[in-house]
């Protein structure tokens, strides 16, 4: 009994020392004490600037405290000072692995409160963009997780595929990385036939590379030993902790916002919501793998069904006019000037729009006072909520499994820190 109180005090001492400054802490009997390990914020396996304080008993994790905020840029404050249009480039920098998905989510949120609807072609293009972004994000997650447990090859293979995807994004949006592709009421530029051919080629080739990864990992003794039964979370706890996205589905909860409250044209497309029973790192890996095939399926259907037509809706007061008309017509020049300088004026009120981002539920909550910039904008970022479950996942696991578990929940700190 006396020992445990003593332990508690000494652990508090260590944590205090870590929080304060670089100080020396001396203990008389090291075996009677827990060890506190500081992991990050510059540890390569924390996927960014995540800092963990891990309390260890031998090699077993007793407790864990995540520390966030090393990448906090105050985007919610910036949003209040910029017009709705100006904020689009900032959304690229939230989940920087799948920027188009963020652009789409943000555009949908603003369109909802401004009462704008994008024309059908733009909606289909957005679906293509968001699903390709999902493939890109899942490839990154799988590659990085496999590398964390020692399989370097898969990381390189995943990056080879992502490189092809970046070429596709380059054709589609004009940029490889920070796309800023959507506009309020549509998308920035049309999808050309060349882009369409490039996407078709990518999704035709993809199943082959997919099965390469499956063959490499799914029967690999070393990989399986590191991930099966590690970091298990059951469905009830996952819901209680607001786990979302692929992580939640890996615990057997069939929750996907694409079917929960369909947005864009997802209700016209046929795809399955992937779930796994295990709830461990392997289940999370498998959900991501199988979801990529579903995304391929969605992209294929979307390309087939995509109608011709405009890519921006015709609402001069709220949607930017075509650039070539701005240079030639007085009316469009005025509207362009007003929208760029003064912004879209949505109705006074509030709205929350959630989409199934690559990491989970990505939502934007906007309070509008009717002016050109939001009164308050809250970004509901999935990585932030998924990280909240980390202490629960880590308790009782081995220290060497910490990196596998972090990799399997796929946090992106740009999004978690906002």
């Amino acid at each position: 009994m006396a020992n445990s109180t003593q332990n508690k005090e000494s652990v508090a001492g260590i944590v205090q020392a870590l929080e304060d400054k670089d100080t020396n802490v001396t203990f008389e009997d090291p075996l009677e004490n827990y060890m506190v390990l500081n992991m990050g914020p510059q540890h390569p396996a924390t996927h960014g600037v995540l800092r963990l304080l891990i309390k260890l008993d031998g090699e077993t994790v007793v407790d864990c405290i995540p520390e966030l905020g090393y990448l906090h840029r105050g985007y919610e404050k910036i949003a209040e000072a910029s017009t709705y249009m100006e904020f689009i480039p900032h959304t690229d920098r939230l989940d920087y692995i799948s920027p188009i998905a963020n652009n789409v989510a943000y555009a949908l949120a603003v369109e909802k409160i401004a009462g704008v609807e994008a024309p059908p072609r733009a909606q289909y293009i957005r679906v293509v963009g968001a699903e390709l972004a999902r493939i890109s994000s899942h490839l990154m997650a799988i590659g990085a997780m496999a590398m964390d447990v020692g399989a370097m090859t898969v990381f390189l293979w995943a990056f080879r595929e992502r490189e092809k995807l970046y070429d596709v994004f380059d054709l589609l949006t004009g940029v490889r990385f920070t796309t800023s592709y959507t506009r309020i009421g549509g998308v920035a530029q049309d999808m050309t036939d060349e882009t369409k051919r490039a996407i078709t080629k990518f999704i035709d080739d993809f199943p082959k590379h997919y099965s390469e990864i499956i063959r490499m990992l799914n029967k690999n003794r070393i990989f399986l030993d590191r991930v099966v039964g590690v970091g298990t979370i059951d469905a009830e706890t996952a819901v209680r902790l607001s786990f979302s996205g692929a992580n939640l589905r890996a615990s057997g909860v069939e929750h996907d916002i694409r079917t929960f409250s369909p947005y864009l044209v997802y209700d016209q497309l046929s795809f399955d919501v992937i779930t796994e029973k295990g709830g461990d790192c392997f289940a999370r890996y498998m959900v991501r793998m199988r979801e990529m095939l579903e995304s391929v399926k969605i992209v294929r259907q979307t390309l087939e069904k995509m109608p011709q037509g405009p890519i921006k809706s015709d609402l001069p007061k709220k949607v930017l006019p075509k650039k070539e008309r701005v240079y030639g017509k007085m009316e469009e020049l005025i509207h362009d000037f007003v929208i760029v300088n003064d912004g879209v004026h949505p109705d006074v009120g509030e709205s929350y729009v959630a989409t199934e981002g690559s990491k989970g539920e990505l939502g934007f909550y906007i309070i509008s006072d009717g002016s050109g910039h939001p009164w308050r904008m809250k970004i509901r970022s999935p990585s932030f909520c998924n990280l909240q479950a980390l202490p629960t996942l880590l308790k009782g696991q081995m220290i060497s499994d910490v990196v596998a578990i972090i990799g399997s929940i796929d946090p992106i700190m740009g999004e978690a820190d906002k």
Binding site: E19, L68, G69, H72, G74, E76, K77, I78, E80, A81, T83, K112, I113, G115, V239, R240, L241, S242, S244, V253, H255, F260, S261, N341, D342, G343, H345, D347, V348, G349, E350, S351, Y352, A354, E361, G363, Y365, I367, D369, G370, S371, G372, H373, W375, R376, K378, R380, F384, C385, L387, Q388, D417, K418
Partner: protein, 183 residues
């Protein structure tokens, strides 16, 4: 769904339910601050409603909020010179977004928090996921959540004195408020 929620809440809490409104097909229920925990408990545990997934908690500062739809941004008037449009007792909002996985429904709860004494009961006992959301709201707005197990700052350093998302905090920040690392 809307009727069911409204009837159940009004039956159980009567006067504590201040307003039920719908805007852009989204349902918002405003309740009294004191009863938020019990309202959440009912919404979560009622066998018909089952709002079991808390998707978000956030705050908002309504200091001098007013309808600005006719105002042009480039003609913006001075914020400080205007009379207060929102009473100080209603300065802050705390907003809860929740999902019912069973009914495929969303609901938004809203409570008003006093600007002079920003205190709100914590819902972590009902929704453990509220833990970090409430920490973030505390960090950004300075709203203290009573009964929260670990109310520390989420993003800003622990010794930081201000709450950045308040409307009276300047966008440029306050010079010298974050000490640079010593040499």
């Amino acid at each position: 769904m809307r009727e069911k929620i409204e009837v159940k809440l009004r039956d159980a809490f009567g006067e504590s339910v201040i307003a039920v409104s719908e805007f852009k097909d989204q349902l918002t229920v405003e309740v009294k601050r004191e009863s938020i925990v019990e309202v959440c408990r009912l919404l979560k545990e009622d066998s018909e409603l089952r709002f079991d997934f808390l998707s978000d908690v956030c705050g908002a500062d309504m200091l001098n909020f007013e309808d600005a739809s006719s105002r042009k941004a480039y003609l913006a008037i001075e914020h400080d010179s205007r009379p207060a449009t929102v009473p100080v007792e209603e300065r802050f909002l705390v907003i809860y977004n929740m999902i019912s996985l069973k009914n495929k429904a969303r609901l938004r709860l809203k409570v008003k928090v006093d600007g002079d004494n920003p205190v709100c009961p914590s819902v972590t006992a009902v929704y453990p996921a509220a833990n970090w959301f409430e920490r973030e709201t505390f960090d950004m707005f300075g709203i203290t959540f009573e009964g929260h197990p670990d109310l520390r700052r989420m993003y800003m350093p622990e010794e930081y004195e201000y709450h950045p998302l308040r409307k009276d905090f300047p966008l440029m920040g306050i010079p010298g408020s974050i000490p640079l690392p010593g040499k």
